[in-house]
């Protein structure tokens, strides 16, 4: 099973100067059970591609297909329900600064029909895995940039998503935390999750950790060595 982009085009950044669409007939396949790295220069549309793949935006043309489901063609209600299988970490983090770490991690679980204790256990487990133990009651705005980024990653992973979309997930991390995060993403892929990492962090490109790679440039996605 895979998450597929077929002729995916997004033109809302098109300018009067005649510049082309941000994404131009992008094709790509992202396997479940594998971590795929998408690289590319700043402004090439990596974040937008993740937003389209997560059903957060609708493409101008083309489609995003999950297995056999053309999710980008679905109505809002259907995509809302499908999105429950997605966990996303934004490049800009998009945390609510006054919420505590625990409340931030509870946020994705509230609509999932779970009891408080189960949600607390999952939140504490995620905080522990992301090296945030002991910070559960601290408001997010009081954390360092690296800690805030790990909170955003924990929020994306806390409900065990089937698709994990990570936008520059190691940008604010030191080498040790970056390595531990990569290990965590690998374990998720080993558990059958479709992991898509968008990054131009050289630490992720080194060592052949991600054999499945795409390069996004000039609005086109190409397999990268």
């Amino acid at each position: 099973m895979m998450l597929t982009c077929r002729n995916l085009t997004l033109a809302w950044h098109q300018t009067t100067s005649g510049a082309g669409p941000l994404l131009d007939a992008v094709n790509g396949s992202f396997d479940y059970g594998r971590a795929t790295l998408v690289t590319g220069p700043t402004g090439s549309g990596k974040s937008t591609l993740l937003h389209l793949m997560g059903g957060l935006l609708q493409p101008t043309s083309g489609e995003v297909v999950d297995g056999d489901d053309p999710i980008s063609r679905w109505t809002t209600d259907h995509r809302d329900r499908w999105r429950r299988k997605v966990g996303i970490c934004f490049q800009g983090l998009h945390l609510m600064p006054e919420l505590s770490v625990r409340d931030t991690l509870l946020q994705p679980m509230i609509p999932r029909n779970m009891g408080w204790q189960a949600m607390f256990d999952l939140a504490n487990g995620a905080a522990s895995r992301l090296d945030l133990a002991g910070l559960e009651e601290v408001p997010v705005q009081h954390l360092s940039g690296g800690q805030q980024q790990r909170v955003a990653i924990a929020r994306a992973m806390v409900h065990a998503p089937e698709i994990l979309l990570l936008d520059e997930p190691t940008a604010f991390q030191d080498d040790d935390h970056a390595r531990r995060l990569m290990d965590l993403f690998d374990r998720s892929a080993d558990d059958g999750v479709c992991v898509v990492i968008s990054s131009h962090d050289p630490r992720l490109r080194q060592g052949g950790r991600y054999p499945a790679r795409y390069q996004l440039s000039g609005g086109c996605l190409a397999v990268s060595a």
Binding site: L56, R83, P108, P111
Partner: protein, 378 residues
Amino acid sequence: MRAGPLFQWSGRDLGRHRIKAALVFLALSTLTAMVATVLLLNQAVALTFGRLLDHSPAIIVRQVGGGGWLPLPAEDALSAARAVPGVVQPRIRIWGVVNHGDQAVTIVGLGQQPRGLLPDGFQSPGRGEALIGPGVTTATGEARILLTGQQAVDLFVRGQLPPSAGMAVHDLVLLHVDDARTLLGLRPDQASDLAVEVFHPEEAESLANVLKQAFPWPVQVTTRSAVRKAYAAHFSARGGAGLLSFMPALLALVLLIVALGAWGLQLEPDMGLMKAMGWTSGDLLRLHLTRAALMGFPAFVAGLMGAWILCVFAPGNWVTRFLFEWSGPPLELSSQGLVVPLALTTVVVFFPYLAANFWSGWRTVQADPMALIQGRAR
């Protein structure tokens, strides 16, 4: 989604935006109080006035001339009324309005057999004596009352009627019929008016026309039902004018809508983010409405309680005087009479508040998450 987490999360959200929540609470409760006060008072005035009328005669006959009311020839009037079939218990009344210091009081002259006005344990006042209603004041320590009409009469206050004696006695002074005639300038063969009852109450209107023809002089005949209709129209008009005088309420409504709109705009990125986290449009709409209800329902109840306090406990009935020019006894509210004002206030204030929240929430949750997060949803 389970109700417990939904309520808790809604409460936390309100806590995160506590100043804006407090502003909306204040605006909604003020608006509720203003609307409910007018509606409750309208109901209370109608009820109180209706109960006062219940104690009045079915038909009243007064002689009129070019200058207004004239004293009625008592015996001739009684004979003419008795001759009309369907008329029962015709009786002359000696009453009028005189001054007591700065206060205007209604005096009623009582004969040997006073009808219904005296509660148990009270004797009809003799000459030079008076019984005063609970709304009539005397100087501290004084047991006398000086009334001024056509002449001044100084009376010994033999007792004060208790409030439980009925609303009709509130500003009343009961005195001997001869003292009343002296105060009003009536001769012994004259009366203020003639009161009659009717055998069939539904015939009162038609009997009024017959009575008008039965007297050899011009008379004005007034039925209880006509008075009831006239005052109902008057109080409705006053209530409408009172509602208009509450223009600040409209301003509060505008502020409320603006606050809701601005708050909704600020919440859009949050809602977009929650959508991205897996909240469905339905989940977010439920959250939005739960948040609105958690804030709006207590504000609505607080507004109703404020209206109740203004209606029942406002010192000196100033709200009622201002809105309805009411100078009668304290108003009464019945539990049955509360239903209509409460229902109307709910329809006029609370339902539109919920509808506005539903509309703003529904419009918001239809958008794509990134459009909300980036503020491009509108």
